[in-house]
Symmetry: C2
């Protein structure tokens, strides 16, 4: 079955986008069929995957969520990969949340449209293996749609003090979602990001997370590495930009761990 | 007259909170009366200033915005400073945006309540010199309320590639606000944050920003410095945690530049 991940954390700048695009790229390089859905109006994931999203005429996730346009009509292939594709976020997505507020079943819109796309692909004998939904830094209706559409939640946690503070709020929202909207959602994966082993703070945060979430946190932590932040300026993931860099090696190991942990569904 | 700054950028993790609390602390150490308003439901600014905000019973910015509670009833003194105070954000603030959507004049709620607080202080002969409103990483109704309440906008820009991408969207929102809601809003200050001079990327971004915004960008750029990220874990700003660290010295210089640039109102 297709594994559907939401990559969420309302704390800003913790590595949601960097994690979504690099894990997706690593799995695609391993021969798997992967879809990245960009739900952040900033469109950073679309940029990193070299998918055009600045032109207002391009249909993207706004049309999918607000106008129920089929996903198949907005998804594009990511250049340089066989099995990687992306549903881009255009700027108008910023206005989607206010438009969704009065709609019936507003939290389920993405789930229904994703299900019909995945069954389309399955029927065509070209099943999608992994979906990653990149969320904006908030717990509004865009992130709620992602939490309802997914079966697994991947939380990137930056090894900084503020990162821990937001976790209680995020887990509270997840509990509400599993109680009322999506009982099948499972916090399966936590990934430590921007880990700088030389600082006491990073080690303290990492130890704290490993203690509280021993089963969920991946063994592989992502080190702080400038090649990771340079890659998007070339419209690339670090996997193709500098495959031997510490960041690429760590994301490859994390992708392998995620694949090996596949829940027995 | 009181200078009212909104510290905003929808890109996450660029240093909005770190800038708000450290500039405020630096100005307060210089003898000025400063108020920090925490509009981010994560409450990171409240944490950095050691202001209690986890207890639901504590009134905070949710009560101010949604129930029109006077600011004077939620503002508390920041321990360790003479003239520094904070209006905390409690977790329920996360639900404020949806509550504000149907309200009349929903973007002006903070402005009216801030104006009445400032005139109260002025009448008592204890004028507030500076206000800093720390925003969440989004352009929703919380940030809109801040943009309407303020006269000056301070944009922290992280020296990373994605940081530039979001700027166009932010400036577009600012233009809408000045056209329809607050003609007096002025993008007066841009601060480069997490600047690591050893990387080409940081130098490229900084050069790009200085070229496009020569009048707004401060001469002082904030270096990446671990002491800055350690300070909040002690409930402190870096100004008191490690006043001689590169981060503290840079924020002190930035605060002085802001004070010296005071617009001739
Ligand atoms: N391990 C790393 N080492 C160095 N830089 C990193 C690393 N991971 C991410 N970055 C950089 O840090 C910044 C924040 O990362 P990213 O944009 O992926 O976070 P995010 O959680 O998606 O942010 P937002 O909350 O705005 O969506 C980016 O400029 C990115 O290039
Ligand atoms: N100059 C700096 N050097 C090192 N670390 C920094 C610096 N400035 C901020 N940080 C750290 O980087 C992280 C992001 O900063 P901060 O939380 O202030 O950004 P923000 O824009 O307020 O984030 P959000 O979008 O979630 O509100 C924090 O963990 C903070 O401690
Ligand atoms: Mg992102
Ligand atoms: Mg913040």
């Amino acid at each position: 079955a297709t594994r559907i991940f939401t990559v969420a954390n309302q704390k800003g700048g913790v590595g949601k986008t960097t994690t979504s695009v690099n894990i997706a790229a690593a799995l695609a390089m391993g021969g798997l069929k992967v879809l990245v859905i960009d739900l952040d109006p900033q469109g950073n994931a679309s940029t990193a995957l070299s998918v055009e999203h600045h032109d207002e005429a391009i249909p993207g996730m706004f049309e999918v969520l607000v106008e129920s346009r089929p996903l198949a009509e907005v998804i594009v292939k990511v250049p340089g990969f066989d099995g990687l594709e992306c549903a881009p976020a255009t700027l108008d997505l910023a206005g989607a949340e206010i438009q969704l507020v009065p709609m019936v079943s507003r939290e389920n819109r993405l789930r229904r449209l994703l299900e019909s796309y995945l069954s389309l692909r399955e029927a065509a004998g070209n099943r999608v293996d992994y979906v990653f939904i990149d969320c904006p830094p908030s717990l509004g209706l865009l992130t709620l749609n992602a939490l309802v559409a997914a079966e697994e939640l991947l939380i990137p946690i930056q090894c900084e003090y503020y990162a821990l503070e937001g976790l209680t709020q995020l887990l509270g929202t997840v509990r509400l979602v599993t109680e009322h909207l999506n009982p099948g959602l499972n916090l399966s994966t936590i990934l430590l990001t921007m880990f700088d082993g030389r600082t006491r703070l990073a080690n303290d945060v990492a130890e704290n997370v490993r203690e509280h979430f021993p089963a969920e946190v991946l063994t592989s932590a992502i080190p702080r590495s400038v090649r990771l932040s340079e890659a998007p300026s070339y419209g690339q993931t670090v996997m193709t930009y500098d495959p031997l860099s510490p960041g690429a090696v760590a994301y490859l190991a994390a992708a392998r761990e995620i694949a090996e942990r596949a829940i027995d569904i």
